[in-house]
Protein backbone atom coordinates (compact mmCIF):
# COMPACT_ATOMS: atom_id res chain seq x y z
CA UNK A 1 0.00 0.00 0.00
CA UNK A 2 2.66 2.50 1.06
CA UNK A 3 4.82 1.53 -1.91
CA UNK A 4 1.87 2.09 -4.24
CA UNK A 5 1.22 5.56 -2.78
CA UNK A 6 4.92 6.48 -3.01
CA UNK A 7 5.04 5.44 -6.65
CA UNK A 8 1.80 7.17 -7.63
CA UNK A 9 1.58 10.18 -5.33
CA UNK A 10 1.20 12.75 -8.13
CA UNK A 11 -1.74 11.04 -9.91
CA UNK A 12 -3.34 10.34 -6.53
CA UNK A 13 -3.03 14.00 -5.59
CA UNK A 14 -4.61 14.98 -8.91
CA UNK A 15 -7.50 12.57 -8.42
CA UNK A 16 -8.03 13.86 -4.88
CA UNK A 17 -8.02 17.42 -6.21
CA UNK A 18 -10.81 16.60 -8.67
CA UNK A 19 -12.88 14.99 -5.90
CA UNK A 20 -12.28 17.91 -3.51
CA UNK A 21 -13.26 20.46 -6.16
CA UNK A 22 -16.43 18.59 -7.10
CA UNK A 23 -17.55 18.65 -3.46
CA UNK A 24 -18.62 22.21 -4.06
CA UNK A 25 -16.67 23.80 -1.24
CA UNK A 26 -14.86 27.08 -2.17
CA UNK A 27 -12.05 26.22 -4.57
CA UNK A 28 -9.34 28.17 -2.75
CA UNK A 29 -9.77 26.21 0.47
CA UNK A 30 -10.21 22.85 -1.28
CA UNK A 31 -6.92 23.33 -3.15
CA UNK A 32 -5.13 24.43 0.01
CA UNK A 33 -6.45 21.44 1.95
CA UNK A 34 -5.41 19.10 -0.87
CA UNK A 35 -1.89 20.50 -0.73
CA UNK A 36 -1.69 20.18 3.04
CA UNK A 37 -3.15 16.66 3.04
CA UNK A 38 -0.61 15.40 0.52
CA UNK A 39 2.19 17.26 2.28
CA UNK A 40 1.28 15.29 5.42
CA UNK A 41 1.11 12.05 3.42
CA UNK A 42 4.49 12.83 1.87
CA UNK A 43 6.05 13.61 5.26
CA UNK A 44 4.61 10.40 6.71
CA UNK A 45 6.06 8.34 3.84
CA UNK A 46 9.43 10.08 4.01
CA UNK A 47 9.06 11.78 0.62
CA UNK A 48 9.07 15.32 2.01
CA UNK A 49 10.68 17.11 4.89
CA UNK A 50 8.43 18.56 7.60
CA UNK A 51 10.39 21.82 7.60
CA UNK A 52 8.97 22.54 4.13
CA UNK A 53 5.83 23.79 5.91
CA UNK A 54 7.90 26.79 6.98
CA UNK A 55 7.74 27.94 3.35
CA UNK A 56 3.97 28.40 3.58
CA UNK A 57 4.01 32.05 4.78
CA UNK A 58 6.52 32.74 2.00
CA UNK A 59 4.01 31.54 -0.57
CA UNK A 60 1.43 34.00 0.74
CA UNK A 61 4.12 36.68 0.76
CA UNK A 62 4.96 35.90 -2.88
CA UNK A 63 1.34 36.53 -3.86
CA UNK A 64 1.20 39.75 -1.83
CA UNK A 65 4.36 41.21 -3.34
CA UNK A 66 3.55 40.08 -6.90
CA UNK A 67 3.50 43.34 -8.82
CA UNK A 68 1.65 41.86 -11.79
CA UNK A 69 -1.41 41.47 -9.58
CA UNK A 70 -1.47 45.25 -9.03
CA UNK A 71 -3.70 45.43 -12.12
CA UNK A 72 -6.43 43.69 -10.11
CA UNK A 73 -7.59 46.75 -8.07
CA UNK A 74 -8.05 48.66 -11.34
CA UNK A 75 -10.22 45.90 -12.78
CA UNK A 76 -12.15 45.61 -9.53
CA UNK A 77 -12.87 49.33 -9.47
CA UNK A 78 -13.80 49.37 -13.16
CA UNK A 79 -16.10 46.38 -12.76
CA UNK A 80 -17.75 48.06 -9.80
CA UNK A 81 -18.26 51.34 -11.66
CA UNK A 82 -19.66 49.56 -14.74
CA UNK A 83 -21.97 47.46 -12.59
CA UNK A 84 -23.31 50.14 -10.25
CA UNK A 85 -23.74 52.74 -13.00
CA UNK A 86 -25.74 50.22 -15.06
CA UNK A 87 -23.34 50.47 -18.00
CA UNK A 88 -22.64 46.74 -18.07
CA UNK A 89 -26.35 45.98 -18.22
CA UNK A 90 -26.98 48.57 -20.94
CA UNK A 91 -24.12 47.13 -22.97
CA UNK A 92 -25.55 43.64 -22.61
CA UNK A 93 -28.99 44.89 -23.72
CA UNK A 94 -27.59 46.77 -26.71
CA UNK A 95 -25.55 43.87 -27.99
CA UNK A 96 -28.54 41.61 -27.37
CA UNK A 97 -30.75 43.81 -29.53
CA UNK A 98 -28.08 43.98 -32.23
CA UNK A 99 -27.47 40.26 -32.48
CA UNK A 100 -30.57 38.78 -30.91
CA UNK A 101 -32.10 37.79 -34.25
CA UNK A 102 -29.04 35.94 -35.48
CA UNK A 103 -28.48 32.27 -34.92
CA UNK A 104 -26.52 31.88 -31.74
CA UNK A 105 -27.55 35.41 -30.84
CA UNK A 106 -27.12 34.64 -27.19
CA UNK A 107 -23.46 33.86 -27.78
CA UNK A 108 -22.60 37.34 -29.05
CA UNK A 109 -22.93 39.54 -25.97
CA UNK A 110 -20.44 37.50 -23.99
CA UNK A 111 -17.31 38.25 -26.06
CA UNK A 112 -18.48 41.81 -26.78
CA UNK A 113 -19.21 42.72 -23.20
CA UNK A 114 -16.20 40.84 -21.97
CA UNK A 115 -13.83 42.61 -24.30
CA UNK A 116 -15.48 45.92 -23.42
CA UNK A 117 -15.02 45.47 -19.73
CA UNK A 118 -12.13 43.00 -19.85
CA UNK A 119 -13.85 40.59 -17.54
CA UNK A 120 -14.56 36.97 -18.38
CA UNK A 121 -18.08 36.94 -16.96
CA UNK A 122 -20.93 39.42 -17.42
CA UNK A 123 -22.64 39.79 -14.03
CA UNK A 124 -26.15 39.33 -15.38
CA UNK A 125 -25.37 35.81 -16.53
CA UNK A 126 -23.36 34.47 -13.67
CA UNK A 127 -24.94 31.20 -12.55
CA UNK A 128 -26.85 31.40 -9.29
CA UNK A 129 -24.71 30.45 -6.32
CA UNK A 130 -25.88 27.51 -4.36
CA UNK A 131 -26.53 28.77 -0.87
CA UNK A 132 -26.51 32.54 -0.77
CA UNK A 133 -27.26 33.40 2.77
CA UNK A 134 -25.25 34.89 5.58
Amino acid sequence: MAAFIVANIAPLMFAAMVVFLLLGYPVAFSLAANGILFALVGIELGLLDASLFQALPQRVWAVMSNETLLAVPFFTLMGLILERSGMAEDLLDTIGQLFGRLHGGLAWPTPWCSSARCSPRPPAWSPPRSSRWA
Binding site: G24, Y25, F29, A32, L56, W61, M64, L70, S131
Partner: protein, 167 residues
Protein backbone atom coordinates in the same frame (compact mmCIF):
# COMPACT_ATOMS: atom_id res chain seq x y z
CA UNK B 1 -26.46 27.26 21.27
CA UNK B 2 -27.84 30.76 21.81
CA UNK B 3 -24.44 31.77 23.20
CA UNK B 4 -22.74 30.35 20.09
CA UNK B 5 -25.19 32.15 17.85
CA UNK B 6 -24.54 35.47 19.55
CA UNK B 7 -20.82 34.74 19.18
CA UNK B 8 -21.33 34.19 15.46
CA UNK B 9 -23.28 37.46 15.25
CA UNK B 10 -20.38 39.26 16.96
CA UNK B 11 -17.86 37.72 14.52
CA UNK B 12 -20.13 38.63 11.60
CA UNK B 13 -20.22 42.23 12.79
CA UNK B 14 -16.42 42.39 13.11
CA UNK B 15 -15.88 40.84 9.67
CA UNK B 16 -18.44 43.16 8.12
CA UNK B 17 -16.80 46.27 9.60
CA UNK B 18 -13.29 45.22 8.61
CA UNK B 19 -14.42 44.26 5.10
CA UNK B 20 -16.34 47.49 4.55
CA UNK B 21 -13.37 49.52 5.74
CA UNK B 22 -10.76 47.54 3.79
CA UNK B 23 -12.56 47.72 0.46
CA UNK B 24 -12.00 51.48 0.32
CA UNK B 25 -8.31 50.65 0.03
CA UNK B 26 -9.06 49.52 -3.55
CA UNK B 27 -9.94 53.09 -4.47
CA UNK B 28 -6.90 54.37 -2.58
CA UNK B 29 -4.62 51.85 -4.38
CA UNK B 30 -5.96 52.90 -7.77
CA UNK B 31 -5.52 56.60 -7.00
CA UNK B 32 -1.97 56.05 -5.73
CA UNK B 33 -1.07 53.83 -8.71
CA UNK B 34 -2.48 56.28 -11.23
CA UNK B 35 -0.94 59.29 -9.44
CA UNK B 36 2.41 57.55 -9.20
CA UNK B 37 2.39 56.62 -12.90
CA UNK B 38 1.45 60.20 -13.85
CA UNK B 39 4.18 61.67 -11.67
CA UNK B 40 6.73 59.23 -13.08
CA UNK B 41 6.01 59.90 -16.74
CA UNK B 42 5.07 63.60 -16.52
CA UNK B 43 7.51 64.90 -13.92
CA UNK B 44 10.05 62.08 -13.79
CA UNK B 45 9.45 61.89 -10.05
CA UNK B 46 8.89 58.64 -8.23
CA UNK B 47 10.09 56.47 -5.42
CA UNK B 48 10.12 52.80 -4.53
CA UNK B 49 8.07 53.68 -1.45
CA UNK B 50 5.15 54.66 -3.72
CA UNK B 51 5.47 51.41 -5.63
CA UNK B 52 5.56 49.36 -2.48
CA UNK B 53 2.62 51.05 -0.80
CA UNK B 54 0.51 49.89 -3.76
CA UNK B 55 1.01 46.21 -3.05
CA UNK B 56 0.82 46.79 0.72
CA UNK B 57 -2.67 48.21 0.24
CA UNK B 58 -3.73 45.59 -2.27
CA UNK B 59 -2.49 42.80 0.00
CA UNK B 60 -4.47 44.43 2.82
CA UNK B 61 -7.57 44.30 0.63
CA UNK B 62 -7.45 40.62 -0.25
CA UNK B 63 -6.23 39.41 3.13
CA UNK B 64 -8.57 41.48 5.30
CA UNK B 65 -11.53 40.84 2.98
CA UNK B 66 -11.06 37.04 2.85
CA UNK B 67 -13.37 36.58 5.82
CA UNK B 68 -15.78 39.16 4.40
CA UNK B 69 -15.94 37.19 1.14
CA UNK B 70 -16.55 33.99 3.12
CA UNK B 71 -19.38 35.65 5.06
CA UNK B 72 -21.04 36.72 1.82
CA UNK B 73 -20.40 33.32 0.21
CA UNK B 74 -18.45 34.93 -2.61
CA UNK B 75 -15.55 32.48 -2.79
CA UNK B 76 -15.67 30.63 -6.11
CA UNK B 77 -17.23 27.18 -5.90
CA UNK B 78 -17.55 24.33 -8.38
CA UNK B 79 -21.24 23.68 -7.84
CA UNK B 80 -21.83 21.33 -10.79
CA UNK B 81 -22.77 18.49 -8.48
CA UNK B 82 -23.59 20.23 -5.21
CA UNK B 83 -26.23 22.47 -6.83
CA UNK B 84 -28.31 19.34 -7.44
CA UNK B 85 -28.14 18.25 -3.84
CA UNK B 86 -30.62 19.24 -1.18
CA UNK B 87 -30.05 22.29 0.98
CA UNK B 88 -29.33 19.95 3.86
CA UNK B 89 -26.63 18.05 1.98
CA UNK B 90 -25.03 21.35 0.93
CA UNK B 91 -25.00 22.43 4.55
CA UNK B 92 -23.26 19.18 5.50
CA UNK B 93 -20.65 19.78 2.76
CA UNK B 94 -20.05 23.28 4.13
CA UNK B 95 -19.62 21.91 7.65
CA UNK B 96 -17.22 19.23 6.42
CA UNK B 97 -15.26 21.73 4.32
CA UNK B 98 -15.02 24.28 7.11
CA UNK B 99 -13.79 21.66 9.59
CA UNK B 100 -11.34 19.80 7.37
CA UNK B 101 -10.39 22.27 4.62
CA UNK B 102 -10.73 25.86 5.78
CA UNK B 103 -9.87 25.78 9.48
CA UNK B 104 -6.74 23.55 9.31
CA UNK B 105 -5.32 25.56 6.41
CA UNK B 106 -6.03 28.96 7.94
CA UNK B 107 -4.79 27.93 11.39
CA UNK B 108 -1.60 26.46 9.91
CA UNK B 109 -0.78 29.63 7.97
CA UNK B 110 -1.76 31.77 10.98
CA UNK B 111 0.58 29.85 13.30
CA UNK B 112 3.44 29.77 10.78
CA UNK B 113 3.17 33.43 9.74
CA UNK B 114 3.08 34.84 13.28
CA UNK B 115 6.83 34.24 13.99
CA UNK B 116 7.68 35.76 10.61
CA UNK B 117 5.88 38.94 11.67
CA UNK B 118 7.48 38.94 15.14
CA UNK B 119 10.97 38.57 13.61
CA UNK B 120 10.29 41.37 11.19
CA UNK B 121 8.93 43.62 13.98
CA UNK B 122 11.91 42.97 16.30
CA UNK B 123 14.59 43.39 13.66
CA UNK B 124 12.93 46.44 12.07
CA UNK B 125 13.14 44.73 8.69
CA UNK B 126 13.21 47.20 5.78
CA UNK B 127 12.57 46.42 2.12
CA UNK B 128 15.75 45.72 0.14
CA UNK B 129 14.74 48.27 -2.51
CA UNK B 130 16.23 51.77 -2.30
CA UNK B 131 13.88 54.03 -0.29
CA UNK B 132 11.85 50.93 0.54
CA UNK B 133 9.27 50.84 3.31
CA UNK B 134 9.47 49.02 6.63
CA UNK B 135 8.09 45.53 6.13
CA UNK B 136 6.40 44.67 9.42
CA UNK B 137 2.99 46.22 8.61
CA UNK B 138 2.80 43.99 5.52
CA UNK B 139 4.07 40.99 7.49
CA UNK B 140 1.36 41.65 10.09
CA UNK B 141 -1.34 41.51 7.42
CA UNK B 142 -0.86 37.75 6.90
CA UNK B 143 -1.67 36.62 10.47
CA UNK B 144 -4.35 39.32 10.74
CA UNK B 145 -6.09 38.23 7.55
CA UNK B 146 -5.95 34.54 8.40
CA UNK B 147 -7.12 35.19 11.96
CA UNK B 148 -10.19 36.93 10.52
CA UNK B 149 -10.66 33.97 8.18
CA UNK B 150 -10.51 31.51 11.08
CA UNK B 151 -13.02 33.58 13.07
CA UNK B 152 -15.41 33.84 10.15
CA UNK B 153 -14.99 30.10 9.50
CA UNK B 154 -16.11 29.45 13.08
CA UNK B 155 -19.07 31.79 12.63
CA UNK B 156 -20.09 29.99 9.42
CA UNK B 157 -19.76 26.65 11.19
CA UNK B 158 -22.07 27.81 14.01
CA UNK B 159 -24.63 29.16 11.53
CA UNK B 160 -24.59 25.94 9.46
CA UNK B 161 -25.07 23.78 12.55
CA UNK B 162 -27.90 26.04 13.71
CA UNK B 163 -29.48 25.63 10.27
CA UNK B 164 -29.29 21.83 10.55
CA UNK B 165 -30.93 21.86 13.96
CA UNK B 166 -33.88 23.83 12.65
CA UNK B 167 -36.87 21.55 12.17
Amino acid sequence: MSFLLSLSRLIDAITERVGRAARWLILLTVLISAGNALARYAFNASSNAWLEIQWYLFAAVFLLCAGYALKHNQHVRVDVLSSRLSRRAQTWIDIFGTLFFLLPMALLILVLSWPVFVDSWRSGEVSSNANGLVLWPARALVPAGFALLVLQGLAELIKRIALLREP
